[in-house]
Amino acid sequence: MNNITKENIEAYILDYIEGNLEDNMRKELEEFLNKNPQYKNLLQEYDPSVRLTDEKEDVFEGKNLLYSDFMQSKTNEIKIIRQNKILKRAIAVITSVAAIFIFVFIFVKTQDNPPTQQLTKTTSQTKTIKHQQTEIKPQSEEIICEEKEFLPQVAAKIPQENKTNSAKDTAKAQLNSNEDEKRYDVVVKRRRLSPELEQLICLVQNEWSDAPEKVLVKEGNILQMNYINEDRTSRGRIDMQMLAYPDNTMIRYVNNGAESSCKQYANPMQDPNSEIVIKNVTLKDLDSIIKVLQNRR
């Protein structure tokens, strides 16, 4: 045993009282008690007669259930019970795993299916759209082709206001929806820089191609050109006004404020501006058509 301390003194006193201490330990304990007399009380207070006694009331009634014969059967029962338990657990695990698998499968399917259905629907739609586009495309091509031929004829009919209004393109779509066919008739009105001026610019650039320096200023349907001669001795301004008629085009030149000449051109001006009527188009096609028309400039 360890040395006697305040912590284990009770164990030594117990051994001392029960007579289990060897002589050397007895002496050691007595010395310790002399040095620490407060523990002598423990020696006096301890009463070995305070003991538990066997009570006849506590009779074990299940002894028959403990003998080997019964235990053998019981262990068999327990084995069966445990096997059943293991089986039940295994079944529970398998069913839960299967349930999770089915749930996940159904979940994934429900996640995938509607979109796939939608996709198939959309693909069918796109197919129809594509089909429509393939039907429409040649029409739109035709429209564009027609436009080239059609526009000059329309140009003559366009009122003068429309011809001189704006330098920017504006596209307006008037949609006459046909709900049943979901196709529309589109009227595109284009307003742009006066086409006569554009033609005039082309003509002037061609005629005055030798001019070293030209500055063209467009104001309405009047073209102003500032020029400097080759020898740089003189400079001036030529105003050119184009007068468009159905059969021909007249350009009036005003040189430094004084009318100098007037030229007549046989071909009428070609005006790309016009109303463009495109029939039987879908909404999607409309956007692309408008873009095509805008990009033509």
Partner: protein, 159 residues
């Protein structure tokens, strides 16, 4: 250990083990079940265990079973604060101190109770108790000492 030797263990130790449980958990039905469980544990390993070690094995199993039981039921096994003389009346006080001690043991902490039960009722040596309860021999002695001192104090206060 053969089947016959096992049956001898049942004859010799079943009552002892039952009392050990009764004293410690104060519930005869549970004590009976736990006794069966302890012997079932012995039966399962009776081929490996020698008869000389059967008692120790039984009580070690019993100790573990009891700890599990206490943890499971979370039963309060220490001295009840609301203990009063109503529980043990004047007539009971007339019993001999020895009989009273058996009743008062319920007021002891679980560790002290187990040690003193193993010592007084089962007759284990301190070394064996230490082996069963997984304590040092010194601690077993201290617990037995303190258990007797507490029981004495309670007895003195009742007089």
């Amino acid at each position: 250990m053969s089947g016959k030797e096992y049956n001898k263990c049942v004859d010799d130790y079943s009552e002892m083990l039952f009392k050990y449980f009764v004293k410690n958990i104060s519930d005869k039905e549970s004590a009976q079940d736990l006794t069966q469980d302890a012997f079932l544990a012995l039966w399962k390993r009776h081929n490996e265990i020698e008869i000389s070690k059967a008692k120790a094995f039984l009580f070690i199993s019993a100790h573990n079973l009891m700890i599990n039981y206490i943890n499971y039921t979370k039963k309060q096994l220490i001295i009840k604060n609301d203990w009063s003389k109503k529980e043990i009346g004047f007539e009971e006080m007339a019993f001999e101190n020895k009989n009273l001690v058996n009743h008062l043991i319920e007021k002891l902490p679980a560790v002290m109770k187990e040690c003193i039960v193993l010592r007084d009722l089962q007759g284990f040596s301190y070394k064996q108790i230490a082996q069963i309860t997984e304590m040092t021999e010194e601690n077993v002695k201290i617990n037995v000492f303190r258990a007797r001192m507490q029981l004495k104090k309670i007895l003195m206060s009742m007089k």
